[in-house]
Subunit: 210 residues, 2 copies
DNA sequence: TGAATTTTGTTGCTTTTGCAACAGAAAAAC
DNA sequence: GTTTTTCTGTTGCAAAAGCAACAAAATTCA
């Protein structure tokens, strides 16, 4: 999910004007935040990349969302009450703008630029989130591991405007993202190669069909 | 997904003030709309209920979303390009407000009340969509049919503030909503009954645990 | 009301997926 | 540069899910 307004202006201006927004730095594998009901965090990933991860009672790990530069996250986007722990984990060094708000729709007393820009762009911001989530649902509703893989590869291929692309996930993480068993996924990738649907060199995939 | 501002005011006012918004009536099994890229429809379900349905190349039917009174839908919420057909089908008689916009963020020339109220409430509206979609993803990432069923039942139980509740889906539709095979789902429901997790009378479910 | 259609419930069989375990390769840490 | 850890690739076996088909029940239609 990418924010279209100028995020660099955003980052430059908030410090002088608003005390409700903080910029923090996190390092690989650190927990940036855990989702807690009613603690209304709104975060912008300034640099780096991170995952929203859920651990369920059976010990399964699911990558719910993957965030890269300029993506937004936080409880504001996840009001649903869940029994499971939801963590945002840094995959590498990450700079994050964190804003804990009382009411995201109303402006702060300071009437600072941060809130002005935020409220102006909130619909667009959230709308792009909806797009991401719909894409994710489309993948998850596919009935077989093969279809999930091909759906995901297609997506990357379209984004990259090329039949070849690099996986940004490790295969272990990809399995957790597609919500399937890793070894079963590996077996399926093997079959896709053997049947001539794809080519795979390290983490570079090439689609051989269409 | 429920809209909190007064939708009845909304409906009352648009007709006199704005020619870009239409109210239409649909009957059971009619197609309310099909999602087409760049035709930016924004719809509000005034009464009745409907499903967003996807048919894939393998002949599988998936209920992507279920809409009831006051839910909103349309291409504005589904920018992702998909290969599959996406239809909104009426489950019963439905009244729908349809608004085809050029730019949902900008006000129309008439400066009518409809657009004023719409733009004021757009963030909240879309945010509630995000909540719905996250709930859906949580269900879909569950690894077994049993966990999907229990997750869905839990949700209904929480909404209803009771261990007992009625299914609004037929079992055939529920399978399409959870994205699993119907007969496998039926087998699982049977096991849940036999193992004493749930009780089922017609379309009334009672949770016997927790 | 009676006929037609849809939904529910069930089963045998097949295919897919998950689990557990392990070895080698690659990457990270020291 | 060596050790430790993580990731990849693979397999045999078990469990779960899908497919196909059918009868009975319920619902809709005419």
């Amino acid at each position: 999910m990418n924010v279209n307004f100028n995020i660099d202006d955003f980052i430059k201006n908030f410090q002088t004007n608003c005390n409700k927004v903080q910029k923090k730095t996190f390092y690989k594998n650190q927990v940036i935040t855990s989702y807690i009901e009613k603690r209304n965090q709104f975060c912008i990933l300034v640099s780096g990349n991170a995952d929203l991860v859920r651990y369920d009672l059976n010990g399964n790990r699911t990558i719910v969302e993957h965030f890269s530069k300029h993506d937004v996250f936080g409880e504001v986007f996840y009001t649903v009450s869940t029994n499971n722990e939801l963590l945002v984990e840094a995959r590498e060094k990450c700079e994050v703008l964190i804003y804990i708000y009382d009411d995201i729709h109303s402006k702060c007393k300071n009437n600072c630029k941060f809130h002005q820009v935020l409220s102006e762009n909130l619909p667009e911001l959230i709308l792009s989130k909806v797009t991401d989530l719909n894409m994710r649902i489309e993948l998850l509703t596919k009935r077989s591991i093969r279809d999930k893989l091909l759906g995901y590869f297609n997506l990357l291929s379209n984004r990259n405007l090329s039949k070849s692309f690099y996986l940004s996930f490790s295969l272990t993480d990809l399995a957790d993202y597609l919500s399937v068993d890793r070894s079963a996924m590996m077996r399926e990738i093997k079959s896709l190669k053997e049947e001539g649907f794809i080519d795979k060199n390290k983490n570079r995939i090439t689609l051989l069909y269409k």
